[in-house]
Amino acid sequence: MLDVMIVDDSNIIRRKIERSADRQFFNIVALARNGLEAVDLFQAHRPQVVTMDLTMPEMDGIECVERLVKIDPAVRILVISALSDVETGILALERGARGFLCKPFDDEQLNGALTELVEGLHD
């Protein structure tokens, strides 16, 4: 079982990810509304997996990815964003994210992306 933190400024999206993530593999330990909150919660809970929105108030997702990777270089971050241009995807990966899922998404796409993200971590 892997601990997961969900970061998104939308309550609906946080709850959707929480409901949809396969509970056989993922244990939701923290929900954050922006990057600043995410950094605090990450230090408190140390999840192995993070889902990260990009467009958020206070601190955006790209900066938050950088901060989390500095704290724990092994963290697996899946960016989940409506920003669907190639440049943004590449930027997120360059800053330390390990995967990118474009909104809107369905349950199957979410779990597919999470499974790909954590390949090898269950061993």
Partner: protein
């Protein structure tokens, strides 16, 4: 604004509803309105656009549509807080998806959610907006595009 530009947003609306509800959404022929009388329903999610393109993209819908859409998402709580959250998220998704066509210089703000129509602060009165009518189940809604530089 070109037909291709409008098509980017039309495709975004269709993609959102298809992914979210797996129900067909119908999009009507876009038309122009004066910004002094902006198109609106009960709730509106507004995205500010900057970069080479400047202006506003918003999604506006009646409460009944948004409540039904929340239920389609598996969300049982149809309180006003979640209604406002959803209308902002739809606007954010449609505007964000447009970057696949316009590139990363098409900068979008975090959504501003309001009850009713955008004010003159959000919509310059010397411009006009394109309204894209949206029909989902028995409800009507709209995506409205007010952009300079396209």
């Amino acid at each position: 604004m070109t037909e291709d530009t409008l098509k980017v947003f039309i495709d975004g609306v269709v993609r959102y509803f298809q992914h979210t509800s797996h129900k067909e959404v119908k999009v009507g022929a876009p038309y122009l309105v004066d910004n002094r009388q902006p198109a609106s329903f009960d709730y509106t999610g507004i995205i500010g656009i900057s970069g080479p393109y400047r202006g506003t993209v918003y999604f506006t819908a009646p409460r009944a549509l948004l409540s039904h859409l929340l239920l389609s998402l598996g969300e049982q709580d149809t309180s006003t807080g979640n209604i406002l959250d959803l209308v902002g998220e739809v606007a954010n998704t449609i505007a964000g998806n447009a970057r696949a066509a316009f590139g990363h210089e098409f900068m979008i703000s975090v959504p501003v959610m309001i009850e009713g129509a955008p004010s003159q602060i959000q919509l310059p009165v010397d411009l006009r907006s394109y309204v894209i009518p949206v029909s989902w189940k028995s409800y009507q809604a709209a995506v409205v595009i007010c952009l300079e530089g396209v």
